[in-house]
Subunit: 214 residues, 2 copies
Amino acid sequence: MLSASAKTVARLSLYRRILTDCAARGVRSIYSHELAQTLQITATQVRRDLMVVGFSGSPNKGYDVEALLGSISTVLDRAGGEQVALVGVGNLGRAILSYFQGRYANLNVAAAFDQDPALHGRLIHGLTIQPMTKLSEVVAANGIYTAILTVPASEAQRVVEELIRAGIRGILNFAPLTLRVPEHIYIRTVDIAMKLETVAFFARQDAAREVYEA
Amino acid sequence: MLSASAKTVARLSLYRRILTDCAARGVRSIYSHELAQTLQITATQVRRDLMVVGFSGSPNKGYDVEALLGSISTVLDRAGGEQVALVGVGNLGRAILSYFQGRYANLNVAAAFDQDPALHGRLIHGLTIQPMTKLSEVVAANGIYTAILTVPASEAQRVVEELIRAGIRGILNFAPLTLRVPEHIYIRTVDIAMKLETVAFFARQDAAREVYEA
DNA sequence: ACTAAGTCGTGAAACCGTTCACGATGTGAA
DNA sequence: TTCACATCGTGAACGGTTTCACGACTTAGT
């Protein structure tokens, strides 16, 4: 069993994206410093990460693009492709559905749910919106264990409990609050307002610094 | 000049959200461990962060909610409210516009831009979409230095250069690539596909662990 | 007034992730 | 073949963040 940190896994995903692009352009091999430069990290970092997946390059040719792609995919991908459920088909949910529409070969939003009866049965970005009551059934039938949660903050805790009951073990949450989940559930929250506030803060600091240093 | 790390600033934003809620419910004071529990971090972490903003509580009453709110807001907020531009009014851009619509008193999306002439002049979620050529003018006129970038990956690097030329110093990027920006520009990328892949990876690991440990 | 209980503020330690530094390795040129 | 060179793999050092541990403080109860 491979033990990689969340940061390493995240970077592996980014390496793969670059490698896929390289492969498409016919590039056969790549050096750690090339990958590093594209992502604006250090070459050592890249080599460390690849060490984690147990991949070796050659001191002269660097890394074989196809082989590395395969190696990373073995680590990141689920056989048969990762099937994901999206819960909460509001504006953000739709945007995400649209974004994933056939974009990634191994990462597919396979079902979409909403509690609003007005949406049930409607076809949105290629998926028929289903009622929450179908959750367990669909999740089990499709071998889904990962969900994208795009419901209002007020609903999120309740819905997350439904998800877990239905067998979901990994959740990407967009509701701006900290959800309570059992130990064995992996959950990451993307808090856009918080991120934006952070960006604004540092943009302002830089402005101030310029002023003071002038 | 206050020197806080990005992580601390991010948490301050979250503390404030909780405190705002407390204030609305009439709660007068709060202990570090209460804030900690809500965010699922440690009480020490909370106290450290508040140390950074120079706020003191009392050993018996904890922190005064109103006073702490004011203190954090002094650090995070820009006088008159933060004005932000959104560039790229596709599905995700619209979802974000809709989300910020009057939701935060001190954080306002003040202008939206797109390169598509078909969108120019159209009113979407309360904003009239403007052509990119208006960027400099509008940014200068509204004192904007922060932007949300929701354009396709293929356009992102070009657009980010336009933003910087127009005076933007902080960028929240949703395009799935690493953008090249000068030293003094603060940029954060939210890469949804990468995040989802990470979540799926760990959800799968946990599943495997359960199986092996059983 | 004194004690017990609970929280705050913070120096020091621990932890994790990144970077440095360098030996090992493979390749091409003389 | 041998040398010069560039990159790889990795133990050790480093730096930033979190957590521990504990003295200081405040209040309530006796």
